[in-house]
Amino acid sequence: MESLVNLMHGFGVLADPMNIVYMFVGITLGVLIGVLPGLGGANGVAILLPLTFSMSPTSAIIMLSCIYWGALFGGAITSVLFNIPGEPWSVATTFDGHPMAQQGRAGEALTAAFTSSFLGAFVAVVLITFLAPLIAKFALKFGPAEFFAVQLLTFCSFVGMGKESPFKVLTAMMLGFALAAVGLDTVTGQLRMTFGSVELLRGFDFLIAVIGLFGIGEILLTMEEGLAFKGKSAKINSKVVLETWKQLPRYWATAVRGAIVGCWMGITPGGATPASFMSYGLAKRFSKNGAKFGTGEMEGVVAPETAAHAAGTSALLPMLTLGIPGSPTAAVLLGGLLIWGLQPGPLLFVEQKEFVWGLIASMYLGNVVGLIVVLTTVPLFASILRIPFSIIAPIIIVICAVGAYTVHNAFMDIAVMLVFGVLGYIFKKLSYPLAPLVLALVLGDMAESSFRQAMLLSQGDLSIFWSNPLVGTIVTLALTMLFWPVISLAITRLRPRQATKPAVSLK
């Protein structure tokens, strides 16, 4: 196997002790960046990019990609502990991770999140090692119509029948779409819903909405309940990691599905955030415990985390082989490659063997190192919940404010975050669902522009969405997902004989 020989060579590159040091520095910085909402992997890498100038390209990319791995791991921490997604892709982790923390199972939730992140990344790296050229060709098949189909699939697999009133789901979702449309329309270059205001030019960022709706909203709710984070004090147990690991093999199917969804979304490139939502939605739909999702199911943590990390990792593949960034962080890394004088593209794997295989080897090692680093911190992070509310609450609010500001360096965003916080509180009490709102906010823009690009290509002909087997399959799959509740009902009805074994798992 040529790949294996190359990989061994890559590990040889890593043997340089300085590279190992850079790896640890990168992971630690990354976790820190991941914990701080707002300061995302992309910002983190961009900020540190100039510092890597005096290093060799291989060392530089090892450190920067380790920052990225660290950020992928770190995003889960605040999601679980405080319901504040440290990174966009950990929004779905809050759905079950935070309820687990509220039940005193923060340690378990964090262990599950980190371990499944690692698994997702591992699958993606193996994929990159052995199938890189093949996958690169596959990614080229994706035009605007295919992108739209993937976004539609994400949407359809997440939006299902919840407990909430369908009108409230619809209203919340539409609010998300409307907010996503504010600002510059990328297709025509027109300004929409800015009303001459400079502050509205930048639109409503997903992260700011999420920090407000989830983070600040949660603090207000906690305060109202007089809970004051009391009774949440987790049993801090050094064995929590091992105990959680014993439970994890049960969720192998969810993990495998998450990894597949993640790799698919990273390569196409749909991105880590949609991947995490899609994986969560699918797990909810197809798991035996689906109905209990949202109440602190470990499976609900495993699903988004495997997918997010698999997507985040495999997003580097189209960047290296084609020069298309699969994620904002990959875009910054791409800039880095150009600055160091490397040309990402089909020839990178041929001409810069040492660099490419050093990077791939560092993905293996970086994720192992990352897992060790974050797992050792689990008891530490879990014990944060023991800090009294009146100390931790103002600190959380300050960190949220910093996070909201750093997204666009705009003061107004802090105020916007606060408004979202109040809205989050009211919506939660009136059971308007928040998940469709944030999903619409994150996907709305992308889906609309790919739809319109596709329409420009086809001169307004909708049949472009069934114009080739690839796009046709994805669109059909998406529609199947959307009408799944109806379909599954029909299937059960059509098989009256098997009524003794009702298809519980399909609900």
Partner: protein, 343 residues
């Protein structure tokens, strides 16, 4: 002392401190004016575009060069303000009067954004510092396609009928669409223009045959050229690129003809220039002009320019202003003819 009295006296004390501060500030200013001006705190380097794009890359490159070679005592801090096609960044600079610690790097949106969106700003609201380079545009097609020259390409587009050819580009009513519009205006053909998010996406879409052609910057498509997936037809500059090192198939950048010499009379380059806040002193501007001259002399910068096949013209002062005024007129007339001006 009553509370009121103490309040008064502390207010007085504050006023005095304030005064003395101003005094100190004035003295430092006058004394340092004899020497050259230098930044006294970190310099904000605004990028009116998102992270990862061409302008962002260049800004972070400059930040790294300044840091590595110790060209400035204070650090440079890169800030992205991409809202409203960069309007947010430009408004930030034009709105911060006499702030010598804020500079901005431009792309074509310096001219196009106010014209296309109606957001009120202009290069005249800022202090021009220097032109660092001009970014080139090249007409690319997929190497599987039959077009070997711009003429063949344009003829095929004409015979194919209106909108039959699909031109991909970055953003809407910005540089790529303006070049496309200019081609349409000189040749009388029409293209379907598809706006994408970034140059890398456009190049990959062209490789995947989802579009017919693109006007990517050299750096965005060179890797695909070397891999034999894309073919450059011509460069939209007034002269050929002066780089003779072979890139692909034994051809160098210098072997790519200009569009004008191959019968497609369109010229366009994009400004990579630096501006400052309005109302800054000549001394302050001078500092930055000299700083960027030092940056240009470093090997890292020269290497970057060669990799990206930039046009390395440098301009400052009045020469730069004249260029800007002319570029604005060109943009206005191109955009007016294409119907891109905000209503």
């Amino acid at each position: 002392m009553t509370a009121l009295e103490s309040l008064k006296s502390s207010a007085k004390a504050a006023a005095i401190t304030c005064l003395s501060f101003t005094a100190i500030a004035t003295t430092t200013l006058t004394s340092s004016a004899a020497l050259a001006w230098e930044p006294t705190k970190s310099v904000e380097f605004i990028v009116p575009a998102g992270t990862g794009g061409g302008a962002d890359q260049m800004a972070r490159m400059i930040q790294g060069i300044i840091q590595k070679n110790n060209l400035m005592k204070q650090p440079v801090v890169v800030i992205n303000k991409s809202g409203g096609a960069g309007a947010e960044g430009f408004l930030d600079v034009s709105g911060s009067n006499r702030n010598p610690h804020k500079i901005i790097i431009t792309l074509s949106n310096l001219f196009t954004t106010p014209m296309a969106t109606g957001v009120p700003f202009s290069w005249k609201d800022m202090t021009p510092v220097a032109m660092l380079a001009l970014d080139n545009f090249i007409l690319w097609v997929n190497s599987e396609s039959a077009y070997k020259s711009p003429k063949e390409f344009v003829d095929a587009a004409k015979t194919g009928g209106a909108n039959s050819f699909k031109m991909g580009g970055t953003g809407s009513k910005q540089e790529d669409q303006i070049v496309t519009a200019a081609i349409e205006q000189t040749t009388g053909t029409t293209f379907t223009y598809i706006p994408y998010k970034g140059g890398g996406d456009v190049a990959a879409q062209l490789v995947g045959n989802h579009i017919t052609a693109s006007v990517n910057n050299p750096i965005e498509a060179v890797a695909q050229w070397r891999a034999g997936a894309l073919r450059p037809l011509c460069v939209f500059d007034s002269q050929r690129i002066q780089l003779k090192e072979p890139i692909a198939e034994g051809k160098s950048w210098n072997d790519v003809p200009t569009c004008k010499e191959s019968g497609l009379d369109v010229e366009y380059t994009m400004l990579r220039g630096i501006f400052m806040s309005p109302g800054v002193t000549a001394d302050q501007t001078k500092f930055y002009v000299e700083l960027f001259q030092k940056v240009r002399e470093t090997d890292d910068w020269k290497d970057f320019m060669a990799k990206g096949a930039f046009n390395t013209t440098f301009k400052a002062g009045d020469e730069y202003k004249t260029w800007l005024a002319q570029a604005e007129t060109t943009h206005r007339s191109l955009m007016e003819k294409a119907g891109f001006l905000a209503k």
